[in-house]
């Protein structure tokens, strides 16, 4: 009797747990929904279609950057240079678009070079950390200084405008749907494909226990380098979005985004120690950061308190994210 009762309750608990195990971003999603509701309560117009579009186009870059960060976090690594990569790619494409005249085809070519730049940065990071076995936190901090220097070299002063063709497209509306939503859909598709790829599982296995993965015969170094390459790639895509939203070059534009990308990954329920997480969660985490910032304003926080309230809210959300996702695994 007793045994039956206890086992059925265990099954129920297991049900909740397995939901959290399959979808570790559920808690983040709940926070997100709550934040949307609160934003709407304090400023109904923030839920208008235009405002939502604005929110998405502003934070699309951070979402992509959080995704970028997630792939290295999968393998138990971290990349503190993502912001610098965003800056570098931003100035590279801006300078190229200006140099090449800013026509449709040259814009695409510049974007391609930008993406390759991001990938190259990822390769550098990957070789430094996986190949030469430097510690990720300090090595990527060093590469971030290097990439920033490079960005300053490419474009010493913020300001060169992007061709109208570029940012009007990014901000435009096609068939009644804003361009950014097409981007979101495309990104979702790509992420779905990546999640089913062997590389995702391999990255997670490496993050779980690198030695075990190596001894099992996985090419650990190569896998980690691929993680950094994915990170560089998505950082470059984030830079394309930043450029679309800001329509100009700025060698420092990404600097502050690095730590936010780490925060977004944690908010999304991924473990910084590696081996567990989802990119969906990170995307949600990025939106949470954006919504916290606007909510703090909409509730009418006095200006001198805004930073503190935002800081506290993010700290609490981070703690909640960690606690809940651990509850899912414990």
């Amino acid at each position: 009797m007793q045994q039956i009762a206890s086992s059925s309750s265990a099954a129920r608990e297991g049900g909740l747990k397995s939901v959290l195990q399959r979808f570790p971003f559920v808690p983040a999603l709940i926070i997100l929904v709550a934040l949307v509701a609160l934003n709407g309560f304090f400023e109904p117009r923030s839920l208008s279609f235009g405002s939502i579009t604005g929110l998405v186009s502003t934070y699309l870059a951070l979402m992509l950057l959080a995704v970028a960060q997630t792939y290295v976090v999968y393998a138990g690594d971290i990349d503190l240079s993502v912001g610098a990569i965003v800056s570098l790619v931003n100035v590279v494409i801006i300078v190229l678009m200006e140099k090449w005249g800013g026509g449709g085809l040259t814009v695409l070519a510049a974007c391609l070079v930008g993406v390759l730049t991001g990938i190259a940065c990822g390769v550098v990071n990957g070789i430094m950390i996986a190949g030469l076995r430097l510690q990720a936190i300090v090595a990527t901090f060093a590469t971030s200084i290097f990439f920033t220097g490079l960005a300053l070299y490419v474009l010493p002063v913020a300001g060169t405008p992007a061709p109208e063709a570029y940012w009007l497209t990014y901000g435009g509306t096609y068939f009644g749907i804003p361009f950014v939503f097409y981007v979101v859909a495309a990104v979702a598709l790509v992420l779905g494909i990546l999640a089913r790829m062997r590389l995702s599982t391999q990255l997670l296995a490496v993050g779980d226990d690198a030695m075990a993965a190596f001894q099992s015969g996985l090419p650990v170094t190569l896998i980690r380098i691929k993680g950094y390459v994915l990170c560089g790639l998505f950082s470059a895509l984030a830079a394309l979005c930043v450029t679309g939203d800001t329509a100009s070059g700025d060698p420092l534009v990404g600097g502050k985004m690095t730590l936010y990308s780490v925060a977004a990954v944690v908010l999304g329920g991924s473990a910084l120690s590696g081996g567990a997480g989802t990119v969906t969660g990170s995307v949600i985490g990025a939106l949470i950061i954006g919504l916290i910032n606007s909510l703090v304003f909409f509730v009418g926080t006095p200006s001198e308190w805004q930073n503190l309230v935002q800081g506290l809210a993010i700290l609490i959300a981070l703690m909640a994210g960690v606690l809940v996702s651990r509850g899912a695994r414990a």
Binding site: Q21, R198, Q202, D209, F214, S216, G275
Partner: protein
């Protein structure tokens, strides 16, 4: 059909020469036992063959052709599969993913083929389905499994390689009897298929049950290879220990009864995670054995007494005083000691000098604030000598010792200041025969000095030979107490296997 020849394999870690001259000739269709005391270089030799350790010298010939084994991947490609003593599992991946981690089935070149994966995994699991225990399926994350179940996953992972050469480095150390039996059945089948199998174990009965030939390795050097049928236990042990003649016959201490009847530890109505209504008393000078199948609550009870697991009900009385035992600190202060068989997790301070590994209990029990290395060194040496630990200096990092010697360090830390109660939770896991003998002699001595000792061992012989009294655990409860002449293998098995 593969024939493997290893000649003159050599590996040094800094000043430690792990393998001096490893030779091994492995034939298709045999189970080749590799035996040697702790730290003799067995795992090192295996890892060289598996590609995860780079040898300093030596050659490997596969079917007569010299081969270069550049890494684990290369080894797999050459048809070598391995079970690692320390396991090679990704805890948060599922059983199926772990089994096929090195070669995940893919479709369209890049996507994981989940359906094929699950199906293939189910087929491998099916071999062990009835002995694997509850909660073991293809999509269970490995982190939720028990130690024996994890070992089964590692076995399946090795089997799934379908490699002609298979290496098993202590695959049975956490398995219960039924699991071992099943594993051996499979080994015999593979042997029949012509696979070449290396098998390592410290359990003599297993060696004689499954082996065809045996190679003995001593101090990093291969000393002899013989057919199992043409050798015996005494000869093997003689080859293992070299000149230490007196150890050739395993010393089996007769059951001594408690010298004094004074109760030192009393546990009543004890319930917690994995055990229910357990009650017993340990007298001064007594060695109380915990028996039964693997994972029936023996370990949990000990950990709960030690404060490392919470208990829900019951009382613990030590030297006449009741204790809540909310943490190991409290238990240690009360005079309790606990030695875990899982030294990597619970025991050693990885990378730290022996001295630091030896002193934490001493600090706590003497409420010290300052550490004076010269004084500490003096204190630490005595128990190390008593355990015949092999080491060069107290400043060397603990990972420069072999597994067995690491375990001796962990035990020695408890002996600087004598505890009143010693809880031994499978303390000899991975310890060689000679060391075991030393250890049990010492335990008997400690008991004679008035300590109360609780011993759990996954090896029945160890229990029967050393415990004065045995409580048999089944499904978290004590189902039988064996004393005096009742302490027979038959009674032990009978109690262990009967339905709770």
């Amino acid at each position: 059909m593969s024939e493997l020849l290893i000649r003159g394999a050599r590996k040094a870690y800094g000043a430690t020469l792990a393998l001096r001259r490893g030779d091994l000739h492995l034939l298709p269709g045999e189970v080749h036992v590799l035996i040697g005391s702790n730290g003799s270089g067995k795992s090192t030799l295996c890892k060289i063959v598996a590609g995860s350790v780079k040898p300093d010298a030596g050659e490997v010939l596969l079917d007569g052709k010299p081969v270069t084994i550049a890494g684990p991947q290369a080894a797999r490609a050459l048809g070598i599969g391995i079970f690692y003593q320390e396991l090679s599992l990704a805890a948060r991946r599922t059983v199926a993913e772990n089994i096929y981690l090195p070669a995940l089935p893919v479709k369209s070149g890049v996507f994981v083929d989940r359906a094929t994966l699950e199906e293939k995994a189910r087929r491998v699991i099916a071999d062990f389905a009835d002995v694997a225990g509850e909660g073991f399926s293809a999509d269970t994350p490995v982190e939720t499994l028990r130690a024996d179940q994890r070992q089964l996953v590692e076995i399946m992972k090795a089997l799934a390689t379908e490699a002609p050469v298979l290496i098993f480095d202590e695959p049975t150390s956490a398995l219960d009897r039924a699991q071992v039996d099943r594993f051996f059945e499979i080994l015999r089948r593979l042997k029949g298929e012509g696979r070449a199998i290396i098998f390592i174990s410290h359990r003599m009965d297993e060696i004689f049950a499954i082996g065809d030939r045996v190679t003995v390795i001593r101090d990093g050097e291969t000393v002899a290879t013989s057919r199992i049928a043409e050798t015996d236990q005494a000869t093997i042990i003689h080859q293992m220990v070299g000149e230490r003649e007196e150890l050739a016959t395993p010393s089996v201490a007769p059951a001594v009864h408690a010298t004094s009847r004074a109760t030192v530890l009393s546990v009543q109505d004890f319930s917690g995670p994995g055990f229910r209504n357990v009650g017993f008393e340990v007298a001064k000078g007594e060695i109380l054995g915990f028996g039964g199948l693997h994972g029936q609550g023996q370990s949990s009870v000990m950990r709960a007494i030690f404060g490392a697991l919470p208990h829900q009900a019951g009382s613990i009385t030590l030297n006449g005083k009741a204790h809540a035992m909310r943490s190991p600190r409290e238990a240690i202060a009360a005079g309790c000691a606990y030695v875990s068989g899982d030294r990597r997790r619970d025991g050693i301070l990885q990378g730290r000098p022996l001295l630091e590994n030896l002193t934490p209990i001493h600090f706590l029990r003497n409420r010290l604030m300052l550490a004076r290395p010269s004084r500490l060194r003096e204190r630490a040496l005595k128990p190390l000598q008593a355990l015949k630990t092999k080491f060069q200096a107290l400043e060397q990092p603990i990972n420069s010792l072999s597994g067995g010697n690491q375990q001796k360090i962990v035990i020695a830390r408890w002996l600087i200041d004598r505890p009143d109660v010693l809880l031994l939770d499978d303390p000899t896991k991975g310890i060689d025969l000679a060391a075991k003998t030393d250890l049990f002699a010492l335990i008997r001595e400690l008991a004679a000095e008035g300590m109360g000792i609780v011993l759990y061992s996954s090896e029945d012989a160890e229990l029967l030979n050393n415990a004065d009294r045995i409580l048999v655990f089944n499904s978290g409860s004590v189902t039988r107490e064996l004393t005096g002449a009742d302490r027979t293998r038959y009674n032990l098995y009978h109690a262990a296997y009967e339905a709770a």
